[in-house]
Amino acid sequence: MTPVQAIIAKELRSFFVSPVVYVVGAVFLLIFGILSYLAVVNVGARAVQLMQLQGAAAQINLNDMVFRPTFYSTAVVLLLVLPILTMRLFAEERKLRTFELLLTSPIRINEVVVGKFLSVYLIFLGLLALTGLVPLILSLFSSFDWKPVLTGYLGLALMGALFLAAGVFTSTLTENQIVAAFLSFGLLLLVWLLGALGSVLGDTPAGNVISYLSFIEHYDRMVRGLLDSKDLVYYLCGVILMLFLAHRVVESESWK
C-alpha cells in the first residue's frame, strides 16, 4: 500500500466514524431532493397550464425546466456544504499535534496533501452518485436528452473538486476548523463574484479575463451541455493551484 493509499484509507475511516459526513451527506441529499422535486412539480403545473391554453399535451423540455435550475441551485448548496467536509483535514492535525507524526514519517508532503484531497473527493463523488437517482427515476416516466445531464454532472464533479481543493488549502492555514471552513467559503464566494464583476466590465480584455477566472462561467457552459477543453483546463489548473498552495503552507510550517 502506497503512502497515498494509506492516507486515503485512514481519512475515509476517520470520516465515517465521525457524524460530520452523515449529517453533511443527509442535508445535501435532502436539499438536492427537494430542489429537484420542486422543479418537477413546477413543470407539472406548467404542463397543466399549457394543456388548458393549447388544449393538447404540450412538449415540455425537462432539460431546461428541471435539470438546469437544479444544477444551478446545487452549485450554491455545494458552496455551503463542501467547506464543512474539508475543514478538519489539516486543522485537526494541527490541533491534535498529529501533524508531527505526518511530517516526521518517511513520506512526502505532496503525498499527504493528495491523499487527503482524494479521500474527501471520493466521499463527494459518492454523494454525487446518489443524486443520480433523480435523473434515473425521471427517465422512467419521461424522455429527455441525457447529454446535457451528463455534462452537468461532469461540471458538478469538476467544480466540487475545485471547492474541495480550496477547502484543503484553507484547512492548512489554521488549527481552528470553523475558521478554515469560513475562509474557504469566503474565498469561493469571492471567486464566484468575479463572474459578476466580469460582466459589469463587459466585453473588454479585462472583463474577459476576470470572467474566465470565475468558476461559474465554466460551470454554466457545462450545464448547458457544452463541453470545451478550456473549461476542463480551468478546473484542473484551479485544483492543482490550490493543492500546490496547501503543499507550500504545510512545507513552510517547519520554517516558522
Binding site: M1, R97, T98, E100, L101, T104, P106, S254
Partner: protein
C-alpha cells in the same frame, strides 16, 4: 550514529537553541536534561527533520537532516511531547496506519504490530478506541508507534510522562533493553530517570549545553569538598566559629534550624570522627552526623541556576568545563 554540530535555531527574535554540539554513538542511551523551555524539544525536532536548524549540521546515521530528510526519517522512531494519536481510531487501526506510513507491508506490518503490542502490553486495549484510553495507555500507544518499525534510532520526548510508577519501571526496562542495538535519545526532567537508564547526560539550559557526561562523573566533577551535616542538641552561640577553627574545615553554614550545621571540609579528608569527639567532649549533645552527597539533582540545579557563574560551553563532547565556585548553600 548521531552527530550534531553547532546547531542554532531562532524563531524570529527568540533563540531557542544556540551552538549545540554533541555526538551519540551507536547503541548508546543519552538523556537530555533541562528545565522547561531549555531547547530539548527544539533539538529533537531538528533531529527528526520536523524543522531545519537555522545554522549548523545535524546528521543521523550518516544522512544530513536537511539534505536527505526521507532517509533520516526512515531510520528514526519519534515520540513527540504530545503523543500524536488519532482519537477516532482503535489502537490496531492507528498502528496499522503508522506502519503503512513507515513503509511496512502485509506480513511485516502484522508481525511488527504484534511485537509492539506485546512489548508495551497493549493486548487488552488493541481494539479499543484511542479516545477512550487512559493517559498511561495513550503514552504507551505513542511509544508503540515510535518502536513499530524497529528503527535504529529512537528519539523520545519525555517518554514516561503520565505513566504510573509500575509502568515507568517497565518503560525504563524497555529502554534499557533497547540499548546496545538501538541508539536512544530521550528528554526528561525526572533526574532519577536519567541516572537509571542513560550512559550519558546532556544538561541543557537556555538553549546551550551546560554539561555532557555520565551521571556519576557529573556529580563527581562538581564535588569540590566533602560535606557533612551535623545536628547538635544544645549548640553554644559561637559554634560556627568553633567549627571553623577545626583543621581541614573550609566553611561552615548554619541552617534555618538552629540545631543543624552544614560543614564543608577539604576534599579527601574525613572529619567525622574528630567532629563527633569534639561535640561530645564539650557536652553539647550530638544528635546526628552524616555526609551529604551531591545528587544529580543538585548538579542539575547548580548548573542551570548558577549559569552566569559557569564557563559553561562544553566544547567537545565528553568534556565539561565547570569553573564555577559553588557559592551559596548546597541543598542538604
Amino acid at each position: 550514529m548521531i552527530e550534531v554540530r553547532d546547531i542554532t535555531k531562532r524563531y524570529g527574535e527568540l533563540t531557542a537553541v544556540q551552538g549545540v554540539t554533541f555526538t551519540v554513538d551507536k547503541g548508546e542511551v543519552l538523556a537530555f536534561l533541562g528545565p522547561n523551555g531549555a531547547g530539548k524539544t527544539t533539538t529533537m525536532r531538528i533531529l527528526t527533520c520536523f524543522m531545519p536548524a537555522t545554522e549548523g549540521v545535524a546528521r543521523v546515521a550518516g544522512f544530513d537532516c536537511f539534505e536527505q530528510p526521507l532517509e533520516v526519517k526512515r531510520r528514526i522512531g519519534y515520540l513527540p511531547e504530545t503523543p500524536p494519536l488519532y482519537h477516532e481510531l482503535t489502537v490496531v487501526e492507528y498502528l496499522t496506519f503508522v506502519g503503512r506510513l513507515k513503509g511496512l507491508h502485509a506480513g511485516a506490518l502484522r508481525s511488527a504490530l504484534d511485537r509492539a503490542v506485546e512489548r508495551l502490553s497493549l493486548g487488552d486495549v488493541r481494539h479499543r478506541l484511542i479516545a477512550n484510553l487512559s493517559r498511561g495507555y495513550r503514552q504507551r500507544v505513542g511509544l508503540a508507534q515510535a518502536l513499530l518499525h524497529d528503527p535504529p534510532v529512537l528519539i523520545l520526548d519525555e517518554p514516561t510522562v503520565g505513566l504510573d510508577p509500575k509502568q515507568i519501571i517497565e518503560i525504563r526496562e524497555l529502554i534499557k533493553s533497547l540499548a546496545g542495538s538501538h541508539t536512544v535519545i530521550l528528554s526528561t526532567h525526572i533526574l532519577p530517570e536519567a541516572t537509571a537508564v542513560c550512559q550519558r547526560v546532556v544538561i541543557i539550559d537556555g538553549g546551550r549545553i551546560v554539561a555532557v557526561d555520565s551521571p556519576e562523573r557529573l556529580s563527581a566533577r562538581l564535588r569540590r569538598s566533602e560535606k557533612l551535616s551535623v545536628t547538635v542538641k544544645s549548640p553554644p552561640p559561637d559554634l560556627v566559629k568553633r567549627f571553623r577553627a577545626l583543621p581541614g574545615m573550609l566553611n561552615v553554614f548554619d541552617q534555618t534550624d538552629p540545631h543543624v550545621f552544614l560543614l564543608e571540609c577539604e576534599l579527601g579528608r574525613d572529619l567525622r570522627e574528630e567532629i563527633a569527639r569534639f561535640v561530645v567532649e564539650q557536652g553539647w549533645g550530638l544528635l546526628e552526623l552524616k555526609t551529604v552527597s551531591m545528587t544529580l539533582e543538585d548538579v542539575f540545579l547548580h548548573l542551570t541556576q548558577h549559569e552566569e557563574g559557569l564557563g559553561g560551553t562544553a566544547e567537545a563532547s565528553g568534556t565539561v568545563q565547570v569553573t564555577t565556585t559553588l557559592e551559596g548553600q548546597p541543598r542538604p
